[in-house]
Chain length 430, copies 4
Amino acid sequence: MGSVIDTPPAAMQGATPCLDARLPARFAAVRERTVELAAPVSAEDAMVQSMPDASPTKWHLAHTTWFFETFVLCALPGYRPVNADWQVLFNSYYQSVGPQHSRPMRGVLSRPSLTEVLDYRARVDAGLHDAFAHGELDAALCRRVELGLQHEQQHQELILTDLLHALSCNPLRPAYRDDLPSSTAAAGPLDWMRFDEAIVDIGAPRWPGADAFAFDLESPRHRVLVGAFALATRPVTCGEYLDFIHDGGYREPTLWLSPGWNRVRAKGWKRPLYWLDEERHFTLGGVRAIDREAPVAQLSYYEADAFARWAGARLPTEFEWERAAQGVAVDGNFVDAGRLQPVGDARDGLRQLFGDVWEWTSSAFLPYPGFRPLDGALGEYNGKFMVGQQVLRGGSCASPHDHLRASYRNFFPPEARWQFAGLRLAKDLA
Amino acid sequence: MGSVIDTPPAAMQGATPCLDARLPARFAAVRERTVELAAPVSAEDAMVQSMPDASPTKWHLAHTTWFFETFVLCALPGYRPVNADWQVLFNSYYQSVGPQHSRPMRGVLSRPSLTEVLDYRARVDAGLHDAFAHGELDAALCRRVELGLQHEQQHQELILTDLLHALSCNPLRPAYRDDLPSSTAAAGPLDWMRFDEAIVDIGAPRWPGADAFAFDLESPRHRVLVGAFALATRPVTCGEYLDFIHDGGYREPTLWLSPGWNRVRAKGWKRPLYWLDEERHFTLGGVRAIDREAPVAQLSYYEADAFARWAGARLPTEFEWERAAQGVAVDGNFVDAGRLQPVGDARDGLRQLFGDVWEWTSSAFLPYPGFRPLDGALGEYNGKFMVGQQVLRGGSCASPHDHLRASYRNFFPPEARWQFAGLRLAKDLA
Amino acid sequence: MGSVIDTPPAAMQGATPCLDARLPARFAAVRERTVELAAPVSAEDAMVQSMPDASPTKWHLAHTTWFFETFVLCALPGYRPVNADWQVLFNSYYQSVGPQHSRPMRGVLSRPSLTEVLDYRARVDAGLHDAFAHGELDAALCRRVELGLQHEQQHQELILTDLLHALSCNPLRPAYRDDLPSSTAAAGPLDWMRFDEAIVDIGAPRWPGADAFAFDLESPRHRVLVGAFALATRPVTCGEYLDFIHDGGYREPTLWLSPGWNRVRAKGWKRPLYWLDEERHFTLGGVRAIDREAPVAQLSYYEADAFARWAGARLPTEFEWERAAQGVAVDGNFVDAGRLQPVGDARDGLRQLFGDVWEWTSSAFLPYPGFRPLDGALGEYNGKFMVGQQVLRGGSCASPHDHLRASYRNFFPPEARWQFAGLRLAKDLA
Amino acid sequence: MGSVIDTPPAAMQGATPCLDARLPARFAAVRERTVELAAPVSAEDAMVQSMPDASPTKWHLAHTTWFFETFVLCALPGYRPVNADWQVLFNSYYQSVGPQHSRPMRGVLSRPSLTEVLDYRARVDAGLHDAFAHGELDAALCRRVELGLQHEQQHQELILTDLLHALSCNPLRPAYRDDLPSSTAAAGPLDWMRFDEAIVDIGAPRWPGADAFAFDLESPRHRVLVGAFALATRPVTCGEYLDFIHDGGYREPTLWLSPGWNRVRAKGWKRPLYWLDEERHFTLGGVRAIDREAPVAQLSYYEADAFARWAGARLPTEFEWERAAQGVAVDGNFVDAGRLQPVGDARDGLRQLFGDVWEWTSSAFLPYPGFRPLDGALGEYNGKFMVGQQVLRGGSCASPHDHLRASYRNFFPPEARWQFAGLRLAKDLA
């Protein structure tokens, strides 16, 4: 496996530097944004690992930095890592790069301290800025920077969702921030938008190659025959989900996929993950009243699927979703809005495709025809997870606005509940 | 949920009887065949449950009988079950029908005895034959009989694969049958057959409705745009799989899906499930020399996928597979051939699509667009398992010949290894 | 480790033969008794392993035979084992002898069949009888025969208790025997017998050496200072245990040892293992009415201890128990009485020390001062289990009468519930 | 269960105040000492819970404070807890007091912060000092203060051992303190001290009642007949333990108790817990060279027992140990010495009974005859753990000097390895 640097960048050979002049500023902004998101919590909060699937804030801060150090700075002649041991601690799952600290044991890493990790960030940032300034980054490395920023934006969302989980495990139910606004926006009626059968171009052109960034898993752009269907104009609300609960949704096995029903019984599920009862739930703003008009979130795929069956509908495929989203402006309730909780939207027509809640689709996370992972270690980014997971679309109230697009594919195991994940209904058209 | 009989059959109302005059004879033949398959083993062998996923032979004999009793005989006026308690013992997973004996505890059922279960079979068979003879079965019930026979054929294969697993756990490594032939047939070269992009009709017309039987999961027949691809003319052989092993396939993480690699390490996988070393493996005929020309079997999806990646190829989608199989005669090395082990086939051209080994596809087991489960309790047959599993195609040396077709979809979790499951390679065409 | 035969017997060197002329007859009787106990059940019943701690009847039949083959016949010149593979299958835990088949997988051993195992018994028995007849067994080997018979009697009890557990897991609740009598005997009052402080000789002289057989764990006989105490004249009855249940015994944490309370909650314990409700329980005779006058059985140590605390008393130490039992005739409701269930005893005075139920003591299972295991592989018999278990005394309704004595120590982990184990109260005397 | 205060103290009724004038100063000293021990580590270090059995430093700091608040301050009229929610968070296992935060989830408690916990300590300390000053504490409450201080000293040791475990799980292997001295003291020869059979007074007079503090589990003082034995004059050293390793100690099943051997295999044990190899181990001072002259530590009972068997000796009973320790001055390498690691001692004669390492005894942790737990909730302190654990004696290099005595009984499950626990050999005398 050996070297981290699988496709030796031409940096040292006088190759063309990075063309995108805005990259340094964008780098600075994204990196700074991560630190801002972590700012409301203490070094102790930033230590907590409340389950193996969730990581401490401090680890996210360090891992995203490790990514730039490993894949960009280490490719520069003469660079020496800030701390060779940290190469192991903060490697998530890149087997090609070397060994990894055990994932469920990230919570024991009291050292390095948060202060040291922030200093690590500063040093790596400085390294990047120097490299930008001195034109040391050729196009290949600039693409790695771009990938690193997209990667960092994914971790920005995980910082929030993992922290929400960590804080939810503390009986004191401390808030991430006390100053978050409450919403009283109405949801508006749920209508159905009809789509005829069509051959649709799905996915994004392969990057790099294409100018616009897309993850490898979104490519290649390819044609899919999508049958006629109807799509709900908005996501399912908390109020509608309460109807499902009141109608015995969590007690009726025939509504559930078989492993879903096993999970319901084994874990005693009775409501969405952070609902304390049918009135109050735990949020990044602490315990709040459940807003019945807001899209329901923190559902597993099993719950989303059972709700849809109960409603006499189904989940959309990711292709149906993408078809509906093509041409729709990527606007919505993203993390940038500062609400950090889904809210109702009473406008007419198809809405809330982007932001508020990730929408579970009925599509398993599989490679597109002709899928090719990125070269080298970065090929481990997505491809090796293409089994046993479901695709989600659209981004959430914890996603960065400029991170999403119609072709964006997120994925989680069907039992995962701690994301801002909800659903939008779909129906067959005869 | 209440009654077992969700759509009350019109039997008692003088409705049209069953049209297919061959059904009684077919019923007799399939039922008899099951008993023949179980005949070589003792009552003690028929008790063994060697893992939660596998069931004792006796349980298969009883469960398939329960199916006819529950879904056919119980619908007839005045019928009383042979033993009301057995309704629980031999219900597999039909929540709508009532409670089930715990699946991992099927091995404790020393009572009823094998003799009693065979008697149960005889009594239910007699009930069916009477009902046939007296014209008591209307079309709806005849369809249930047909479904029951298809169901029974699935369990015929499971009787063999579950028994093979059970016997493999006994250090004495007893054979299911001592008189099975050994093969020395050559495999012939692996060539590639090219297919152009096309819109393909996939699946079977919905049964009932359509004359020809198909499971609900194969319907509706629908159009899929299948891109250009090449398909290997035959499955991967044991000899080729040995090359993968010798090349360190089980030691190289980058060849594996992430949960596959975790499994390899956790379970210490080093070769296919029943390979004792690189020369001998355990079969229904006992310990035999590995036939390098025969298709490799007893692979998990993870292993099939890793092999394909190592070979610079990929697994086909189920749509690619079905496209290639359309129009191909359903011939091959099925259970009827009495070999009970895959064998090489040196003919030219596309071959062994049917029989020998189930072929793992890269398709997750998902509903087809417009999928509708069967009505009532029988709707639990397939639909509720549509998550977390992969599709296999083509049948195996343990499948009944008249049970398969091009649209047939089998499914198992990606870690399942105890089936006659192998792979056929596919490739993109630029 | 090498040879099974650690202390080479002098058989082949013309050493003194076995002195006890009754040994052959005793051998025949004990061996026959085991087969009688297994007779009421089918080959299928004899296969069931319902939990890792319990073994199939067939395995007990084979293992006890393996013991004589391994430790006696294999020591004779020229003897060849009936089947070398069975040496592994039926070795329980003798590391010095060689590898063992995995304990939780004993239920997969459909082969050898029950018939073959009974034939194995016959062949080994014949070997022993020949050896007796030809004077081939020297004193050392005769001692091994004696040990083997004592060992076999222990397994006679386990055959019954393991079968009871196996049958209890079958929802049909089949009886081991349908012809067992029901008891209506009254319990008589619970009085207290007082004992003054004394130095007591505890345990049995080391065998061999002493004439009378005793297990190594009962030796050496040694002096113990036992303080003054009072002992209940009879065991606790089902009726008294019902009072504990009705008083909330299973809901009050302060009555329980900490790991006991954790177990109560984790397993949902609410009553003794085989009580279906407060009226009926499962027995070797099938479902029967609970006899409130009979000693309560199938308790864990945790339950016995909690009951004693609730009753304002405590469990006796094994030394107190033995002191009380010294000089008491070993009479009682043993397996020989054919009841196979504890019964009330209305006589006056100290009673039921022997038979009916094993009595949990507050003594951990530890070596006596100067304890020395038997030589060689047989030293693994008891000594290596001397941690984490509690001592029980007195034998039960499933123990052979001629197997018990005042110094006899049985031991089980504190959570074990499937034995005929109950309790007798004790109290401090100021 | 209700009230925390089971035996209502007479504080408010003008009862006799506390007689021991030194108690306030002792209270201040012990409480201050705990904070000193925690001082070298950061708030992040103080958060780590590296396994369910070990608690974060911060939790220890809070729990010991909760003890005084709950059992002393809450008994005073008008006292209101600093934070009612913390009553749950920092209750360890007192069922009588109320619910407890899940033990394995102590590591998620980022709130309250370390600063808040230190403030909690200060406020409760102030409450105690006020109560002392105003004579509000009657004799009963003063006894609770005394118990709380003894309790706190136990947690002082756990702070160190739990921290050592937490830091050992960090691949950076950070030291608790960098300034710890290394020892080069020689061990001196291992001789045997002989003791004749005797009736020995074991244990301490019941406190309160007796003036001198002792835990309830040390009482009542009672007579035990202790047979003749020989005791090694010093503990086993690292060098001697290396001989055991080199001789294949971890590979020879016949040296081990059965559950010990299972553990060795399941966990892959090859050396003491913190030995990185045979040269270096992890200590509170970071990675250090193994001092072959120092007593070996961080052994499980299984390892201590196996070593003794290998050495042709055995572990002493707790009665033998106490007999030998009676009259011996409680001097040794305690935490007060500031070494925080066992060291060799070359003096002649019986030595190191106190300090250096806890010595595993062959005695199970059981109640002494006539044992009576403390009244009320405090009765849960020790009694409910009297099953499945082994007694250790003598204190360690992490124990406070003034906390130990000859009758002191510590206890841990046989698999526990993270304490400064070693062994001293004993032998039978014929």
